[in-house]
């Protein structure tokens, strides 16, 4: 008995020691910079090393919120997020259902769908930039050869054609991830439900709506949150494919530009705080509406 209490005390003490280093690191690299960002957002803070930082109240926020570039970045981000996440959910479910059925070559199929996910985003963006190259790109050549396009298009030159291309790249890259999560969800559905459905004479289409969809919804909702949070902070694809072409920034690109190109930590931080609020609002609204708990 005494030995047991002793062991319990030792375990408890050890727990503190084992958790402390990880918590310390997280505090240093996440909590501290977050507080700093909030403080800087109220300061005139140029990173040129010349002007000393000083408090300016809400100036940085009013600068960002009245900047048309910011609002165009917001609208680009939202269009990108909504369209790509919807496509990824639908296609992801389709791919997951294929991966979940029995057929020859299923392993090959599963490896194949992992490839786009494993390729670094910068590399995917470069590969697609090459594929949609205005003169030599395979997309233009094939589409003009098949007379689908009357002439070659400079896809990345204008926002109207660049945004669909960028969405396509993201869908290509993120659908596998979606499919894998949904596949895990599909595998949790008991097989006898389908058997019972068949005996009762339910068609396969009906079984999809009555069994598959409702039972995969919890997984779908979790996957949706992950993808949306990722999409709202999209940076790599836009920066690499249309970086510097103006008019097609995202919230994250705008933020990074403020910091690096204009060396303005004040405006950059205010942008960060606004992005953080947008994302938190999404999470709060989402948990309200879907009543998902993350515990």
């Amino acid at each position: 008995m005494i030995k047991e209490i002793d062991l319990y005390a030792r375990q408890k003490r050890l727990a503190w020691w084992l958790i402390a280093p990880a918590v310390l690191v997280v505090v240093v690299i996440i909590a501290y910079p977050t507080i700093q960002v909030i403080v800087y957002s109220f300061m005139k803070y140029k990173l040129d090393g010349v002007t000393p930082p000083s408090f300016v109240g809400w100036d940085n926020y009013s600068y960002v919120l009245t900047d048309p570039d910011w609002w165009s970045a917001v609208s680009n981000t939202l269009i990108f997020t909504v369209v790509s996440v919807i496509l990824e959910c639908d296609l992801g479910l389709a791919v997951a259902m294929v991966a979940n059925s029995k057929f020859k070559g299923r392993t090959v199929f599963r490896v194949a769908i992992l490839v786009p996910w494993a390729i670094p985003t910068v590399v995917s963006s470069k590969i697609w930039s090459w594929m949609v190259n205005d003169i030599y790109g395979v997309v233009n050549i094939v589409l003009t050869d098949l007379h689908i396009l009357p002439q070659k298009i400079a896809w990345l030159a204008t926002p109207a054609t660049a945004l669909p291309v960028i969405i396509a790249v993201d869908v290509w890259k993120a659908t596998p991830f979606m499919a894998l999560l949904l596949l895990a969800g599909l595998q949790l559905i008991p097989k006898d439900l389908y058997e019972a459905g068949s005996i009762d004479g339910a068609t396969k289409v009906r079984q999809f709506w009555a069994i598959t969809l409702p039972l995969v919804t919890p997984t779908l909702l979790v996957a949706l949150v992950f993808r949306t949070l990722d999409a709202l902070r999209v940076f790599d694809i836009f920066y690499v494919m249309v970086g510097g072409q103006g008019n097609l920034e995202t919230m994250a690109v705008y933020n990074q530009q403020q910091l690096v190109s204009f060396l303005d930590a004040g405006v950059g931080s205010a942008t960060s705080v606004i992005i953080l609020i947008v994302i938190m609002l999404f999470v709060i609204l989402y948990t309200r509406f879907s009543r998902t708990s993350f515990e």
């Binding site: 050890l14 977050t34 479910l93 992992l114 395979v138 894998l180 079984q207 979790v222």
Partner: protein
């Protein structure tokens, strides 16, 4: 949506043909199903193969869409490996991603052991915090980190990158590894405790070896995430000798700024991608396990 319906229709095809008509229908559906499988595989792999093919095409043939090139060449690979910037960035990426994984696994797995196996009063809140942090948007602390790294004299250094990469690797490692430690049966350690082993010995000798599969999958995922990271590497390094591979590839330029050296870019892209594709092929099962443990079990 029509594709989804087709698939569900095909999910449990009748194997025993009742009538000839049903047989034909089943055969048609089967063919359609395989057509769908092929379409998905082609869509997923085509960009990769196109890039691979482009990387071997001689420069004068690069601008043709013929599927089978007349000749293949290693010129572009020779070119990128002669480029000191690229070679250095490969070394940097290996160092940064490797160190990140070691530190994240080291600190993360002991923390996960405590959270998964030991009595700890704030277990719930800490786990909740860890989960929140796995979804933390990195862009939101960019300027805070920028200033912090400059103050610590770690701006434009590999150790600075490693430190910031722990932001997205550590919470994830802790979360997934905690699930692994929790899933092990209680009896394992009880016998050892009866024999008088210390908690640390139990962790090291009994539990850690059993969580090897978990360590492999989280380690792989952390490595891939660090290897692919772009935003921090772009923002926190300025000189060529500190840049990582994604940054160098994004900044590849040719002799003139109007013409991009596509052959070289594709060769460099293949050099950084093929190791990952091989890892994915070998560890397919472990990677899927780690990915889904990170999300679905939440």
């Amino acid at each position: 949506m029509s594709t989804t319906k087709t698939v569900s229709t095909l999910e449990a095809l009748p194997t025993q043909g009742a009538t000839k008509k049903a047989d034909t229908k089943a055969a048609v559906l089967r063919i359609l199903f395989y057509a769908l499988v092929i379409v998905i595989i082609v869509f997923n792999l085509f960009p990769f193969f196109w890039a691979l093919l482009s990387s071997f095409r001689p420069s004068n043939e690069l601008f043709s869409t013929k599927l089978i090139p007349n000749a293949l060449t290693l010129d572009h690979y020779v070119e990128v490996f002669k480029d000191q910037r690229f070679v250095q960035s490969l070394i940097n990426s290996v160092i940064v991603a490797g160190l990140t994984v070691l530190i994240a696994l080291g600190l993360g797995s002991v923390c996960a052991y405590a959270l998964g196996r030991l009595p700890f009063r704030f277990k719930g809140p800490v786990l909740y915090l860890v989960l929140t942090m796995t979804m933390f948007p990195q862009i939101a602390i960019l300027s805070g980190l920028f200033v912090m790294l400059r103050t610590l004299d770690m701006f434009n250094t590999r150790q600075g990158l490693v430190l910031t990469y722990l932001i997205f690797t550590m919470p994830f490692t802790i979360w997934v590894m905690t699930q692994y430690f929790r899933s092990l049966p209680k009896e394992l350690e009880e016998a050892a405790y009866v024999d008088g082993a210390s908690p640390l010995k139990v962790f090291w000798d009994i539990l850690l070896p059993l969580t090897m599969p978990g360590l492999v999958s989280t380690g792989l995922l952390a490595f891939i995430a660090a290897w692919n990271e772009f935003l921090f590497a772009l923002t926190f390094t300025i000189t060529d000798n500190m840049k990582t591979v994604p940054v160098v590839i994004s900044q590849f330029t040719g002799a003139s700024s109007f013409e991009q050296p596509w052959g070289a870019i594709m060769a460099a892209s293949m050099v950084v991608t093929i190791p990952l594709v091989i890892l994915v092929m070998i560890f397919q099962y472990r990677i899927v396990e780690g990915l889904t443990a990170g999300a679905v079990k939440g």
